[in-house]
């Protein structure tokens, strides 16, 4: 083979090898692209799944990229991303500028307020970092609305807890004078009876003419003695009854606010009675209460927690009745029952209130869900009640008819085993 033919053969072989290399590279490139596309899709899903808004912002504030939660938070569509500037949203652009001057890898964190068309003023916790060589800024923002609301509720709950603790002490302080007021009233009641007996003897003597009755008769007229005679024993009796009622209320408050969370055998019927006494002010002008308490064995439970559940249900019943009473002028009815059902104690609180509309029934146990006016309900009552009942291994349910009323059922297992499992 001559030189030219050999060179030509080598050139042809080179072409074949290079073609094969190009094919291999093309295949590799295709596979790399596929892997890259999959990785990008995974990353996008991951970024959309994180419970925070992730944004990439240019140094001048132009929004370059945003994940799903960020679009939702800012109330933007995908197509808005290239046409939005964060300077029109943030209350201060200073942290953006600060992170650009910070060393690579440094993270700047700050609480800020973003104003969006969809949500108005939004409190957010934002972390800023510089993105590599592109001098862009990555921001991760967390919506603080729920946390802020929780902080308010927590402060409110702490205040209520303090009041509860004070109530226990005040109840004790009231109890002591009440005891001697009651004792003295009982003494006065006996004394009035005795004095009236003495007066009767005097009157008999007057009628017999053994004493001069004229000044006595004059004084009787002046004092309206007949009225005093008929009213004094009743007044003493009513005062004593009032004191006894105060004493029972104080006793109920002490029992209700007992701080112990430890579980111990408790009489659920006694808990219901105590709670009714404490809640009386909530329903006494609106509804009559009917108690239908069946025989229940003692249940191992946290009585103070269950008291809270019963209080929530009774107060909710009164609030549900209020609008109907306001409209019709008629008193409503709260029917409280307890009974033994298999291995469970079942407590029901039925009201003749306005009922729960179908469309919100699935949300009533959600934390912070309330239909009550501002200041009347925090939306935590039923959520807390259900968590308490769950912790006892029990369950909560309800039946409701709009315009007729609602019945809540609380089922607490009697067996210690069920309680242990729940704990």
């Amino acid at each position: 083979m001559d030189v030219t033919a050999r060179r030509l053969a080598r050139a042809e072989a080179r072409v074949r090898i290079l073609e094969k290399l190009v094919e291999d590279k093309t295949r590799e490139l295709y596979q790399s692209n596929e892997t890259l596309s999959g990785t990008i899709a995974d990353l996008r899903s991951l970024l959309d799944a994180i419970p925070g808004a992730l944004l990439i912002v240019e140094p001048d504030g132009a929004l370059r990229s945003a994940n799903g939660p960020a679009l939702e938070l800012l109330g933007l569509a995908d197509t808005d991303v290239g046409h939005t500037n964060m300077q029109s949203i943030v209350d201060s652009f200073e942290p953006f500028a600060r992170v650009l001057e910070a060393p690579p890898g440094a993270v700047v964190r700050t609480e800020s307020t973003w104003t969006t068309q969809k949500h108005g003023a939004l409190p957010v916790l934002v972390s800023f970092a510089r993105l590599g060589v592109q001098a862009s800024i990555v921001c991760v923002a967390v919506d603080l609305r729920e946390r802020k609301q929780l902080e308010v509720e927590l402060r409110h709950a702490q205040k209520l807890e303090s009041i509860g603790q004070l109530a226990s002490g005040i109840a004790h302080e009231i109890n002591t004078p009440m005891q001697f007021i009651g004792d003295n009233l009982a003494f006065l009641q006996t004394t009035v009876t005795d004095l009236l007996r003495l007066i009767d003897v005097y009157e008999a003597r007057c009628c017999a003419g053994t004493v001069d009755s004229a000044p006595i008769e004059a004084l009787k007229d002046e004092l309206d003695f007949d009225y005093l005679r008929s009213r004094a024993p009743k007044a003493a009796a009513r005062a004593l009854e009032g004191v006894q009622r105060v004493a029972s209320l104080v006793s109920a408050m002490k029992a209700f606010s007992h701080p112990s969370k430890e579980r111990a055998p408790a009489d659920l019927n006694a808990c219901l009675r105590t709670t009714l006494t404490v809640a009386r002010n909530e329903y006494k002008y609106l509804a009559d209460v009917e108690l239908e308490l069946g025989e229940l064995p003692h249940v191992v439970c946290s009585a103070s927690d269950l008291n809270q559940v019963f209080l929530n249900l009774i107060v909710n019943a009164a609030h549900a009745i209020e609008p109907k009473t306001r409209d019709s002028g008629e008193r409503g009815k709260i029917h409280i029952r307890s009974k033994l059902e298999g291995t469970q104690a079942v407590i029901s609180v039925q009201d003749s209130g306005c009922g729960i509309p179908e469309e919100i029934r699935h949300r009533i146990f959600d934390p912070f869900f309330t239909t009550k006016e501002v200041g009347k309900g925090t939306g935590q009552g039923l959520a807390i009640s259900r968590s308490v009942v769950d912790a006892h291994g029990g369950s909560m349910s309800f039946e409701s008819t709009v315009g007729v009323g609602t019945t809540f059922f609380v089922r607490i297992p009697l067996s210690a085993e069920a309680l242990r499992r729940a704990a």
Partner: protein, 186 residues
């Protein structure tokens, strides 16, 4: 060693000594591959050494001198292959970026390329110390490349090869002194 160097050696022999000489040298060699060399391919260093040795022997040139001349021949072609002929204005600016830029580009273009390590130190306005480390110990080829580089930038290079890996040193240390070439000055 990447196939691009084999191809350059083929071109060098072809241009300097003709097609028959190339065929003769190839016939003398017993490479590990029977296929022709292609640029992106990777072949044993011993094949390149054999190729260069046979070529030097055939042309009657001392091997180191032949390798130096081959390095000088390679420089403008390698620079062109990297697509950076206008990026550098003199040898020193290129040498300073040899590891951080040039060899990064080489590794991007030629997968699996094992590039040597270079460090530079400016020792004066026109002088530079270059440290070269490579398991291939191709310092004669490096000297040729440096000469080709100086020619490309119209510089006059005075080179002093102080330490050498071939003499058992850990690295080759080359002191380079540049002066503006008379062709450029004119």
């Amino acid at each position: 060693m990447k196939g691009v160097v084999f191809n350059l050696l083929e071109s060098f022999i072809l241009e300097r000594f003709g097609a028959e000489a190339l065929e003769h040298v190839l016939d003398q060699c017993t490479f590990t591959t029977t296929e022709p060399f292609v640029g992106p391919g990777t072949y044993p260093d011993t094949d390149l050494l054999q190729f260069a040795s046979k070529a030097a022997s055939h042309t009657g040139v001392v091997l180191d001198d032949a390798v130096r001349e081959f390095g000088r021949y390679c420089f403008p072609r390698l620079l062109s292959m990297l697509g950076a002929p206008g990026r550098y204005s003199d040898s020193r600016s290129l040498l300073r970026e040899l590891d951080s830029v040039v060899h990064v580009e080489v590794r991007k273009l030629l997968r699996g390329a094992r590039t040597p390590q270079f460090t530079t130190r400016d020792t004066g306005p026109q002088t530079l110390t270059l440290e070269y480390r490579s398991s291939r110990k191709m310092c004669a080829f490096l000297e040729g490349l440096l000469a080709g580089m100086a020619e490309h930038f119209h510089e006059q290079l005075t080179l002093r090869h102080e330490h050498c890996q071939l003499r058992g040193d850990k690295a080759c240390v080359l002191h380079l002194e540049y002066a503006v070439s008379s062709t450029r000055a004119a």
